[in-house]
């Protein structure tokens, strides 16, 4: 491209240019920039820098590791896997058949509190092996439809859960497969209230799910995927749906079910009455009920703490190693005798 430009100016237009007197000097103007002499800092990895860098990393990382490990350990978490337990022994050979049948699926579980749990205690359900990030699944929704009533018929992206005679609101596989196990908790026969308000993102409630959009025609098909919705409550208040529709990133995920705003004491026994409705059996998914407190770091996860400690420790070790290396086999920086043409015998 530039070649053409150069040649055309040299060839055709040259006559116009060179007609000018030759007196004007073509000397390039001097500036630090054009001579590539801008002031610049030129860091070099000296032993001191290397060792201090490693030390710095270890000094930062080890405390962080310790702190986050403590934070993670502080989080009290009760996990109860119930997908198999809640199926009667005799039905365990055909779990899918059982869950599909209209049998009573009420199931009683007892959870033991091991440590003091400070309120709010978050109630999650955890699904394993459920690919909420599957391409077919993530795409199967219509944000226009969720936002305003005027987008009700924008269901083209929702197939195969788009219409059922009339448009389904909310359409798509995500909404269709809404999780429908329910839990109720009691401690010593005293009902523990689960607060289901404010479990979803405020931004979603305000901007993604319309206040004047009501469920229509939902779960009317021949195959019921999950929970049905109360058609008189606008979508912006259907928080379970909003939580569900923020699709999880990884195939093992938790979703917030609600909050218990009471402290739980050690050795409290909590009775859970749950309705085991949701079919994860067809894809070997696990279902877990999780009660957990929280910390500044999020939930219970030792990984970050361990990772920080490992990296910090490694850097400390490296710092030591390099100190030894620099002491045992030092190399004078910028020593010309190391230059290849000085090392080779017979060179200059």
């Amino acid at each position: 491209m530039s070649n053409n430009a150069a040649s055309s100016s040299a060839g055709a237009n040259g006559s116009a240019h060179s007609a000018a007197p030759r007196g004007n000097s073509k000397r390039p103007k001097y500036s630090k920039f054009t001579q590539q002499e801008l002031p610049a800092c030129k860091p070099i990895l000296t032993p001191r820098w290397v060792i201090s860098a490693f030390m710095l990393v270890s000094i930062i990382f080890i405390p962080i590791g310790v702190v986050s490990l403590f934070a993670s350990r502080d989080v009290v978490e009760i996990v109860d896997r119930y997908d198999t337990e809640c199926i009667p022994e005799q039905n365990r050979t055909d779990k899918v058949g059982y869950i599909r049948s209209s049998a009573n699926t009420t199931c009683n579980r007892t959870l033991k509190v091991t440590k003091h749990m400070k309120q709010p205690i978050y109630v999650y359900y955890q699904l394993d092996n459920f690919y909420q990030n599957h391409r077919r699944y993530v795409k199967s929704r219509s944000d226009e439809q969720l936002r305003s009533p005027s987008g009700e018929n924008e269901t083209s992206t929702c197939k195969p859960e788009d219409t059922n005679g009339a448009a389904i609101v909310p359409c798509g596989l995500i909404a269709w497969s809404l999780f429908n196990d329910t839990y109720s908790f009691s401690r010593n026969n005293e009902q523990l209230h689960v607060n289901k308000k404010g479990i979803s993102w405020k931004s979603d409630r305000d901007h993604k799910f319309g206040k004047d959009v009501f469920p229509k025609n939902f779960q009317n098909g021949s195959l019921i995927g999950g929970a049905s919705l109360n058609a008189s409550i606008p979508l912006s208040e259907q928080e379970d749906l909003i939580v569900w529709m923020r699709t999880a990133a990884l195939p093992t995920f938790r979703k917030l079910y609600g909050k218990i705003q009471k402290d739980l004491q050690p050795d409290d026994e909590i009775h859970v009455i749950l309705q085991n409705n949701y079919n994860t059996y067809s894809f070997n998914g696990k279902k877990k009920l999780v009660l957990s407190t929280t910390s500044w770091l999020g939930g219970k996860n030792d990984f970050l703490g361990i990772a920080y400690l490992t990296v910090g420790g490694l850097c400390f070790f490296l710092a030591m190693c390099f100190t030894v290396v620099y002491l045992v086999k030092p190399r004078r920086l910028g020593d010309p005798s190391y230059l290849s043409w000085n090392r080779t015998p017979g060179g200059h």
Binding site: N133, P160, P345
Partner: protein, 1183 residues
Amino acid sequence: MDSKNPIESSPSIEITLNSSSRRSNSSSHSKASRGNSVREVTFGDLGSKPVRYGSRGADSEGFSGSQKEISDEDARLVYVNDPEKTNERFEFSGNSIRTGKYSILSFVPRNLFEQFHRVAYIYFLIIAVLNQLPQLAVFGRGVSILPLSFVLLVTAVKDAYEDWRRHRSDRIENNRLTWVLVNDQFQQKKWKDIRVGEIIKIHTNETLPCDMVLLSTSDSTGVAYVQTINLDGESNLKTRYAKQETLSKTPEKEKIRVLIKCEKPNRNIYGFHANMDMDGKRLSLGSSNIVLRGCELKNTAWAIGVAVYCGRETKVMLNSSGAPSKRSRLETRMNFEIIILSFFLISLCTIVSICAAVWLRRHRHDLNTIPFYRKKNFNDEDKDDYNYYGWGLEIFFTFLMSVIVFQIMIPISLYISMELVRVGQAYFMIRDTLMYDEASNSAFQCRALNINEDLGQIKFVFSDKTGTLTENKMEFQCASIWGVDYSGGKDSSVNEQVGHFVQVDGKILRPKMKVRIDPELLQLSRSGNNTEEAKRVHDFFLALAACNTIVPIAFDDASNPTVKLMDYQGESPDEQALAYAAAAYGFMLIERTSGHIVIDIQGERQRFNVLGLHEFDSDRKRMSVILGCPDKTVKVFVKGADTTMFSVIDRSLNMDIIRATEAHLHNYSSLGLRTLVIGMRELSDSEFEQWHSSFEAASTSLIGRAAMLRKVANTVEKSLRILGASAIEDKLQQGVPEAIESLRTAGIKVWVLTGDKQETAISIGYSSKLLTSKMTQIIINSNSKESSRKSLEDALRMSKKLITVSGTTHNNGGNSGGAVSPVALIIDGTSLVYILDSELEEQLFKLASKCSVVLCCRVAPLQKAGIVMLVKNRTSDMTLSIGDGANDVSMIQKADVGVGISGKEGRQAVMASDFAMGQFRFLVPLLLVHGHWNYQRMGCMILYNFYRNAVFVLVLFWYVLFTCFTLTTAINEWSSMLYSIIYTSLPTIVVGILDKDLSRRTLLKYPQLYGAEHRQESYNSKLFWLTMIDTLWQSVVIYFIPHLAYWGSTIDAPSIGDLWTLAVVILVNLHLAMDVIRWSWITHVAIWGSIVATFICVIVLDAVPTLVGYWAIFDIAKEGSFWLCLLAIVVAALLPRFVVKVLYQHFSPSDIQITREAEKFGSRREFGAVEIEMNPILEPSRR
């Protein structure tokens, strides 16, 4: 060698070659006619120069084509002064030119069409088109075409701007005015309105608007002088002739009925064939009858001509095409690595599709009901499958989709970045004040934009001598006249007062150039014709003043109004130098017309009739002039190369003088001077008559004119009396020895290919430090194939012996150019004729590669190219040719990198070159400094770009493994498209343009550092694979730290996607930052700015409610784990790289590394020395 000319097949180069041969012929004539320094040209006698004798010179066209009948269909008919009739049948183009490529309407389609000539863009396009298919729609429609349209747009804007500039200059050009004959009087007309057939009048110093055939000029003999500087850059005047028959016509007064039948427009600037039918007579027209668009009329009051080619059909327009494009070595390598990357891409895609296949197979019974798959459409009556095309097709689609998702594995943006970086690098090379040449006022020129980095890997430099190593500024140094050596003037300085001058019209006329004068000789030249010696001196200088083709031009001295300066315009500097020398000794050439010359001899004007002139040809290697002297005698003066002159000098006369002269000649040439021998004799009347008639016959002959003229010349150039010899010094350019020394230390082999004779070449070799006294010289001069074979074998044996001797003393593989076993090979063109293009080539190469210096003397232009090819075909090393003349064009084009010296020999070399500069010594900063930087930068940039894109793709890939292999991306699709456009593009470009690993000083101090490039230290396959392993590790860290930290948490895809986006961007920018050596504020802005820009972009994208990731970044950034993840990713990912780097730097530091440390910590004293050492290279241009 000319039988198998490999170039002939390609038409585009043929033109240049053609012209080069023409040019070299003429240039060689003028040089060689002065003897010693002959640029030998062995290929045929293409049109001998016209004999300037009256206007007969007009029939100068090559004898072969002169009488060729132009058939009607190949001809264009021009009715002179009848543009209506001329243009009624044939649509000849008007004179308006359009160098602009596009019009407003055609811009979009044409520009797109041209852009899609690049494979990279087609790949882009295919991916974008694939993505438009509903089954494969991975990205949104808008997103997927964003990168392509961005790139197309940037290029289109650039093209549009360039085109706009072209349109603007076209407009200026088209609206210039000239005088055109309309209704029998000359009127002003715009250039663009000129039509073929119109009669145009040009005044002195005006530019010609179109190609026209001369009809008449202000000169009574029909001579017009034109300057062709815009055409081929040669600043000397060229003579063109109007036909005798048309001279007398005045077009205003009488209607001219002339029909010109000329060939179709073509690109050959140096050829023109036409016939002119006039009053029933047929005349032939040649290239000396046509003046071309772009030339300027000089020294002629006016000229009238008829337009034959207009506008885009003019020769200059037909010749304005780009330089041949070359591809850099690094890019070739890079393309190989890109193929590896595409295999990598394909294997990633294959893995994904195989996994997907297995998954689908295993779940084939559940697909209908799995909530996140739901194959069956239960809501429809017929319950067909939704968006499922069967197992096989699904896998195929998965494969295609993964290609779309992983597309940036092939770093398309790299091509654009490379282009931008090269523009930036070129900018800095052009702006380098140290490569500006004051003398010729020429800055560095970067004519090819895509081989900047090749400058860093040059291993062979082929250099011309005259004009390249030397200044091609000829200075008359000394003379041997009548057996006496006058070289006393050498030491005396130029004395301005002594300079000879003449009074003309009350003004003082003085030569423009001062010459050193030998006082003794001056005395002698002034003493008149009293003694035999003085007579010879008189004749000698008369020969110098007369025996040439110089055109004297007097002009006013700007500083002193009473002085007029005499400028000698001629085709070669040698001839000028001799004319100035003659003038300085009182033999001033004052006037030249076609029939006579006026010489002021010691204040007395004498008029000599030029009865005939035999110009140089490559066989005779001499020229002669036959003068009718004022005393009615006829003398022939001859000057030429010693080899041919001594054969025509009558050896029976003055044997002592001949011997003495020969001895002097030997002295001169061993001093590196260019010598010429001068002889003369008087012609008797009968001899003259005989010569005259045969000369007339020969020069009017239509067939074989050149051969006949040569024969005539040979009859008159014989039994000459020797007058003496002249010696001209062609000074070495400033800094050449130091430059050659630096290049050799850098491990670059310098070969000198020259047309000069062996002694001169060797002496220049010594003075330029190319040859040293330590070296063993192997000289090959052979006259037959057998003898060349023998001498080659001997030489090989000898060099082997030398090497084994030196090899035992120190056992290293010749790292720094010739320090080990200095063997110099000197070979001449005659031997090369037998060696090149035969089986001996191989042996020559073996021998040459053992030698540290190769000097080829008396080589023809095509042999130069042949030698370049000899090396290029047998090694993978990069070659560079540097030259200044038209005879270097072929070698400049053959070499990997061609450098032209914008010197005195015109611009042909520059036009053919990739880089052009003013002085040979600039080669050192060009290669050692800019070449080093460019290569280093480009190497780093390519590796970094591979890494940058691969790491992103791998992060996507790891995620795909946890999404049921369905190519979901957690990273926002906009982010993944902006990744290589906004997030990470700028820093690599800025670093690619600005980063410097070492300062200019250090690089010049240690030329050996150039070896790092020879060893391909900054880009090789080891580095590539290391980088790829590092990439793998980094991608694992980026992906799995958040993956494990957020496993089984409430994290949603867009949030973790934002985390990955930011992590990748920060990481790749820090990765780059680790490699940055010089942190100027621009680097800081680019790197940190990119990270900030990414944050802003992510925030903006997450503030759009229609996108899935609405508010995600704000949500995730509230948690401490987000920031801890970022920090952990950056440190853990860069840790191995850092450790490896530190270990490598400590245990096996590279030369670059050590010198960099020395630069920072080294003692001041050490560096102070550089200043003095490098002075010759750096200082002159600093002044």
